[in-house]
């Protein structure tokens, strides 16, 4: 090959000025595949063996083995963006089916085929809100109780769109409608609310939130996730203009925070949607075929006027979520979601019976998680629980948060026993 190219050494092919050539050492030693695997096994073994009762935006639902085996097929895993749809029909159809399931769950007619995570999806909504509004505004309104990472990401996106992020108060863990009404005004471009909230509260006044947003010519963005949406009111019905969330609650399990940005919206904002869309069309033989579509929104064509900078997305995670949803089917998904309500109520009742503990703190309906008040400082209780093999959130001086799904439900008895000791 060197001869064909006409050089003696590979090094001769590099056109790098000597002044910037690297002649030092990177100090990274090559190891065998076996050695690297062993090394990472041992390294990761430094993660303590804990029962995680953790949520707040990242959820561990059991992922059926089928999902791993199908999603790991190399044709899916090692392919890339479907620039040549004729040899990417499989992934395109799977993403079309993913979009379709989100349409069913949200009631909104347009869902994209993924953004990075819930936080960046919300950030994208802030920029969308400025684009679709006729008059300029100055701020977005978000609940005062919100996952810190999500708020942080939103602040960056909002800043780039010359918007500020302001909080509205919560009343017993849910939107304080009067306070929101007072906070919203002409300068509000976006009102964000969640159901379930970061504290697991099922919001009861979403229609009122929508009304406040509408009356101020602001968008209403609802944060949720596909498991909760299996049973909660359809976002379209309560007046949501956009739905965002982490769809990796299906398909991923605990994954160090790796997510899947869910994004669904109304038809009228179709040409403002960030990220990739898969559409159905026809091939030359007249058969239905799928393709990436409306690409003139995207950065590779529209550049600085694109609806977003996203290119590489979370397509494979969307594939996983779709397979997981399909394997549950409507019965399984509704059952999973129903359990997230009934199990949570039952566990909260048991914790409430523990001396020194009040649960749930908020007198609301809950989904998957709830806040607990402890007489002892929350940090101290959480540390003691960790020593006994349980991880919970300490979210305030005397507030803990507990998340229960089918993956940790079997440890609830032991958790209650332990709490009786350390509370």
């Amino acid at each position: 090959m060197l001869e064909t190219v006409g050089v003696e050494r590979e090094a001769d092919l590099f056109d790098i000025p000597e002044s910037v050539a690297f002649d030092g050492t990177l100090n990274i030693e090559s190891r065998s595949e076996r050695a690297v695997t062993r090394e990472f096994e041992l390294l990761l073994d430094h993660n303590d063996d804990l029962v995680e009762l953790l949520g707040r935006g990242h959820y561990d639902h059991y992922v059926p083995s089928l999902v791993n085996h199908l999603a790991d097929r190399q044709e899916f895993l090692t392919s890339y963006t479907q620039y040549q749809p004729e040899i990417a029909q499989g992934f395109l159809q799977a993403l079309f089916e993913y979009q379709s399931m989100l349409v069913e769950l949200t009631g909104l007619p347009v869902a994209n085929c993924s953004l990075y995570d819930a936080a960046t999806a919300l950030g994208e909504v802030a920029t969308l809100a400025t684009r679709v509004r006729e008059t300029s505004g100055s701020h977005v309104l978000v609940p005062e109780q919100m996952q810190a990472g999500k708020r942080g990401v939103l602040e960056n996106y909002a800043d780039g769109a010359k918007l500020s992020v302001e909080s509205y108060p919560m009343d017993d863990g849910a939107v304080d409608i009067d306070a929101l009404g007072a906070a919203a005004g002409e300068a509000t471009v976006l009102v964000y609310a969640e159901s379930p909230t970061v504290r697991g509260v099922v919001e009861e006044s979403l229609s009122e939130v929508a009304e406040i947003a509408n009356s101020n010519d602001a968008l209403f963005c609802l944060g949720s996730d596909p498991v909760a949406l299996a049973i909660l009111e359809e976002p379209a019905t309560v007046g949501a203009d956009v739905v965002v969330g982490d769809a990796a609650s299906l398909g991923m399990g605990a994954a160090g925070g790796m997510g899947l940005g869910l994004f669904a919206t109304r038809d009228e904002y179709l040409r403002q949607v960030p990220g990739r869309l898969v559409g159905a069309g026809e091939d030359e033989s007249g058969r239905r075929a799928y393709t990436l579509t409306l690409q003139t929104r995207e950065q590779h064509i529209r550049r600085e006027r694109a609806t977003s900078n996203i290119c590489t997305n979370q397509a494979w995670v969307a594939l996983r979520a779709a397979i997981h949803a399909a394997s549950l089917g409507p019965d399984g998904l509704v059952e999973l979601a129903s359990d997230c309500v009934s199990r949570t109520t039952a566990v909260a009742d048991r914790l409430d019976a523990v001396p020194g503990i009040e649960a749930p703190v908020h007198d609301r309906h809950h989904f998957r998680e709830f806040v607990v008040r402890s007489d002892r400082p929350a940090e101290a209780v959480a540390e003691d629980l960790t020593d006994h093999g349980f991880a919970v959130h300490a979210i305030d001086e005397h507030l803990l948060q507990v998340c229960v799904t089918e993956t940790n439900a079997g440890a609830v008895d032991a958790f209650v026993d332990t709490l009786e000791v350390v509370a």
Binding site: N156, N309, I310, Q314, V334
Partner: protein
């Protein structure tokens, strides 16, 4: 489904040029290659929960299939998809190298599956992997600090732009412009705009590189950043990088390195040594993590010491009693998360695309510095060897890991016809500086036999009549798709098919 609907299409591969394509036993019905999940079976279930009725939906309708049916559905879909293990994938700018499967096993270890809300003391393994990867990337790029939080290359660009913005603001400067060469990736422009900057486009010089005079003219007190890809999208090294760096810094701006083409330089040149202040790494390209049909990737960002305080939070660092000696798996590893003093905040809700990051760390450990340097050497050799075999003009050089050939036919048609020869085509019609561009990046993982096969496909198409090329592809799962028609009448869900 009636019998009539389920019979196969015996004519499917008896195409115009007499091909008798291989069609593994499978049936399709008349107007679809594979029915949708919803068309196979769907079921509506009533929702009845402990919640008050007014808070719940009445019913939910979704596909309802048995597990074997699902296994077959997705297996059949996969058979209509082309991955790196299907054949060569010289998609320029995307670095579609082979993805070693052992990294999948590591990412799937039960110990790798933790919730990011844990205290770092209880996830020293996860934080340790992140710490180690940060250190590897810093050395590879010649940077002083690296954040792993950005979940893709474009997110890395955006993070880098935020860091530059914060730096200038801290210096009391209101710099509003980002300079970007016309040959840059579209994401550069979009990322700068997302952060609120005005974009100034720099025309390329006649040699395909940065035009120094145009740069001098564009630089001013408003210049916050110059974003460069090096080697650029034509595969050319910016030879004047020292001068460019000096000019940008003299004007008070910062220099950003788009890491999309880092695969050309591993162990041979480092952005930090070229005067770049900020860079992102596309670990799904350079460090072989699978592209997953579009993602996930990861776009860590490295910066020089002066900019480290602005990186997103949290960062990972070794604590005093810690040890990160190579191969140390038994010592008292100790890492902590911390918030940089003047952090730009968050660019991902949690820690980034963890599963991608752990695979990249394992890949780097497997190759080591010699393996990484060899990867780049072979990537550059392969590109040069392939270009040498082609009956196409390659107007710009000397190129490195990728080259842009110019087709005499419509480049998009050439790509479609290459599909019929069983290979993935290059990126087409971009960068626009080359007529009918075929941007080709074979990567280091292809051998001579495969490169020869690719060359055969390229050259066969070049010799074919226009009508054959325009009518392609004939031997793919689907025939040429009417993308204009699909965009004119957007149907984005199975609900819209019923309308």
């Amino acid at each position: 489904m009636s019998q009539k609907e389920t019979v196969g299409r015996p004519d499917r591969h008896q195409d115009d040029d007499g091909g008798d394509g291989y069609d593994q036993a499978r049936f399709t019905d008349g107007d679809r290659y594979e029915p949708l999940l919803s068309e196979k079976n769907s079921h509506e279930v009533a929702v009845d929960t402990e919640l008050p009725e007014e808070l719940t939906r009445d019913s939910l309708e979704l596909p309802a299939l048995s597990e074997p049916e699902l296994a077959r559905h997705y297996t059949r879909l996969s058979q209509m998809n082309y991955g790196v293990e299907s054949g060569p994938f010289p998609l320029g700018s995307c670095t579609m190298k082979y993805n070693p499967p052992f990294t999948e096993d590591i990412a799937a270890l039960p110990d790798a599956a933790v919730h990011p809300g844990r205290d770092e003391e209880t996830m020293q393994g996860t934080v340790g992997v992140l710490g180690r990867l940060s250190e590897y990337l810093a050395r590879i790029g010649g940077m002083d600090a690296v954040t792993l939080q950005p979940p893709a290359g474009a997110a890395g660009e955006y993070t880098g732009v935020l860091v530059a913005q914060a730096y200038h603001e801290q210096n009391g400067e209101d710099r509003t412009e980002v300079l970007i060469p016309d040959s840059a990736h579209g994401t550069n422009f979009a990322s700068a705009a997302l952060a609120g900057f005005d974009v100034v486009e720099l025309p390329s010089g006649e040699d395909g590189r940065v035009d120094i005079d145009a740069l001098a003219e564009a630089l001013c007190d408003d210049t916050a950043l110059l974003m460069l890809t090096n080697p650029n999208t034509l595969g050319l090294f910016e030879r004047d990088i020292d001068e460019i760096s000096e000019m940008v810094h003299d004007a008070g701006g910062l220099l950003y390195y788009d890491g999309a083409n880092l695969n050309a330089l591993l162990g041979r040149a480092r952005p930090g040594d070229m005067g770049f202040d900020i860079m992102h790494y596309n670990v799904h390209k350079t460090f072989a993590t699978p592209h997953g049909g579009g993602g996930p990737g990861a776009g860590p960002v490295g910066v020089v010491e002066e900019l480290a305080p602005f990186l997103p939070t949290p960062m990972v660092r070794e604590t005093k009693d810690g040890s990160t000696d190579e191969g140390d798996t038994t010592g008292e590893l100790s890492y902590e998360l911390y918030e940089p003093e003047q952090t730009v905040g968050k660019v991902h809700g949690f820690l980034g695309n963890w599963q991608v990051l752990v695979k990249a760390a394992a890949y780097i450990a497997r190759l080591g510095e010699d393996g990484l340097a060899d990867a780049s050497a072979k990537a550059v050799l392969n590109a040069n060897y392939l270009a040498e075999q082609l009956d196409y003009d390659v107007p710009f050089g000397p190129f490195h890991h990728e080259f842009v050939a110019s087709a005499e036919q419509d480049a998009a048609d050439v790509a479609k016809r290459m599909l019929d020869y069983g290979v993935h085509p290059p990126t087409t019609k971009w960068p626009e500086i080359v007529d009918e561009a075929l941007m080709t990046e074979p990567t280091e993982t292809e051998n001579r036999r495969t490169l020869d096969q690719l060359a055969t496909a390229f050259n066969a198409v070049a010799r074919e009549d226009e009508d054959i090329v325009e009518a392609a592809p004939k031997r793919t799962a689907a025939r040429r798709i009417d993308q204009v028609g699909a965009a004119r009448n957007p149907r984005l869900s199975w609900h819209s098919l019923e309308e």
